[in-house]
Point group: C2
DNA sequence: AGGTATTTGTTCGTATGTATA
DNA sequence: GTATACATACGAACAAATACC
């Protein structure tokens, strides 16, 4: 009763297994994960169930799908440092489909939103940018 | 010209229709979207196709699923203002499953990560927090 | 060049479980 | 208790993109 996960391997368990294999370094960045069909066979689940597990990893930003090739472990890119003004506000939100296309943002990656005092906003893909406040050297 | 707007209704088109209905205000925050079954019937698609469209809206942060009830338009919460220092670095990333559970983060919402000079990090759900610069009022 | 195999993407159908109303 | 609705899982088929020969 406490353990609802007895018996069949659900997509969450399967995702957990893959997550561990990535964290342990067995599956390295840039490397392909087992295909949906392979995972389904080796774990005795349907392909759509394996696919759901992989979708979970994609949503977590751990993996990215390449159609016709496979699903690869995301590579860590050294983020670019972007300085913002002291009056700017910083938030984050998921990209719209249009923004995902424009900025080439992988699944699971949010946009960093820098809002200026005039209301205008700058957008940065959260996987490639880190923000910091520019020290205010303006005179009074 | 390829296809102006004809052809089968895919989950992306269906998601677009719902996105428009949300943006136009026809579907208001807190309100239920049509159920998966209803959408499937009214648009002549399988239930899983309708479900895929709704999943897309959830990933965009526009809607959230409530099991046994329906899928509701996300309400806008007035974000809490959190002050950060000039030495802090700000980034964002998807939450781990454990963090999603701890912070009760809806699907599609990332975590704002504030990294201090000593390496320690503060985490904030990106849908409830906005960051601002703490003006250094320390005397010299 | 072409052709085949692999892999992910999409869509359909069906069934069952679980939570809410 | 019944009905509704989302969650999970199975099976199947074809499309689209990539890789390999």
């Amino acid at each position: 009763m406490i353990y609802p996960g007895r018996g069949p391997v659900g997509y969450r368990e399967l995702a957990g297994l893959l997550r561990d294999r990535i964290a342990s370094g067995e599956l390295r960045p840039g490397q392909r994960l087992p295909s949906e069909t392979t995972l389904a066979q080796t774990h005795g689940v349907a392909r759509m169930t394996a696919r759901e597990a992989l979708r979970m990893l994609r949503a977590e930003g751990l993996a990215a799908a390449v159609r016709g090739y496979g699903i690869v472990v995301r590579e860590h890119v050294e983020p670019e440092l972007v300085l913002v003004d002291a009056e700017d506000r910083i938030s984050a939100r998921p990209p719209s489909p249009h923004e995902r296309d424009m900025y080439d943002v992988p699944e699971g990656v949010s946009m960093l939103v820098v809002t200026h005092p005039d209301g205008l906003q700058d957008l940065y893909p959260a996987d490639r940018v880190v923000l910091a406040y520019r020290r205010d050297s303006s005179p009074d």
